[in-house]
């Protein structure tokens, strides 16, 4: 049902160091805080962290899966409030869900929830889609 207040099913993505390397290559963002643990620790981070834009790209995949493909997104925004921490040899979760907050014709506004290890990582995450 597409009506305001509907909560969409949760989906879990898994991130590991290999995915961060793949995103670095695909996006061109080779900042070592996303790949090199020693470097990440040296700048005061708890471990290697995922690119905020990788987190947002995965949340975007959640949105486009629901909306019917990448062509259906008109607006997409998020605040990077906490990093997704990606230790070596472990898979870290990114758990995404959404609530329909507005329906105007075929334009649907979603408010997204994105957490990792139970901690909210994206704030004010919203998308406007056509479906």
């Amino acid at each position: 049902m597409i009506e305001v207040g509907t909560v969409l099913p949760e989906k879990i993505f898994y991130l590991d160091r290999a995915l961060l390397k793949a995103y670095a290559d695909a996006s061109g963002d080779q900042n070592p805080i996303h790949q090199n643990e020693e470097f990440a620790l040296s700048v005061g981070l708890p471990n290697v962290i995922a690119h905020g834009m990788l987190t947002m790209a995965l949340a975007g995949k959640y949105v486009t899966d629901w909306a019917g493909g990448s062509a259906h997104v008109l607006e997409f925004s998020a605040r990077f409030i906490k990093p997704v921490i990606v230790p070596a040899d472990v898979k870290t979760d990114l758990t995404v869900s959404a609530t329909i907050t507005e329906v105007v014709g075929n334009r649907i506004k979603l408010e997204l929830s994105a957490t990792s290890a139970g901690i909210k990582v994206l704030g004010m995450a919203k998308a406007v889609v056509t479906k």
């Binding site: 061109g28 834009m53 975007g60 995949k61 990448s70 997104v73 925004s77 605040r79």
Partner: protein, 129 residues
Amino acid sequence: MINPDSVGRTFKGVDQVTVTQSDIDAFAAVIGETDTTVAPPTFSIRISLSQYESILTQPEIGVNWSRLVHGDQKFEIFRPVIAGDVFTCSATIESLRVAAGNEIISVRSDLHNGAELVVSAWSTLVVRG
């Protein structure tokens, strides 16, 4: 320090960036998207961020890229990005403020394919003091 005179100004990117199918395929593969007829919604950030880096680090603006953290991101997508798009990218510095020793810069990039505006993207970038 970022030059406060840069606020409100629009800087043109120096490069034209051609989107290739292999660029889209690589980006889509990372997030598990198998339909690559159009680019995923956040794909254009790879163009905006690289153009920001070359524009904002110019001495007349003075952003220290090595101390940069991405604060937030917004996209308005007027049509999906596709292979063969040739983008010029501008950067407009919309605001600059200092909080807790960090410089917080809001910048908008408009990606044009010829005269057609395809994506507008707003980024808040934090230069850690």
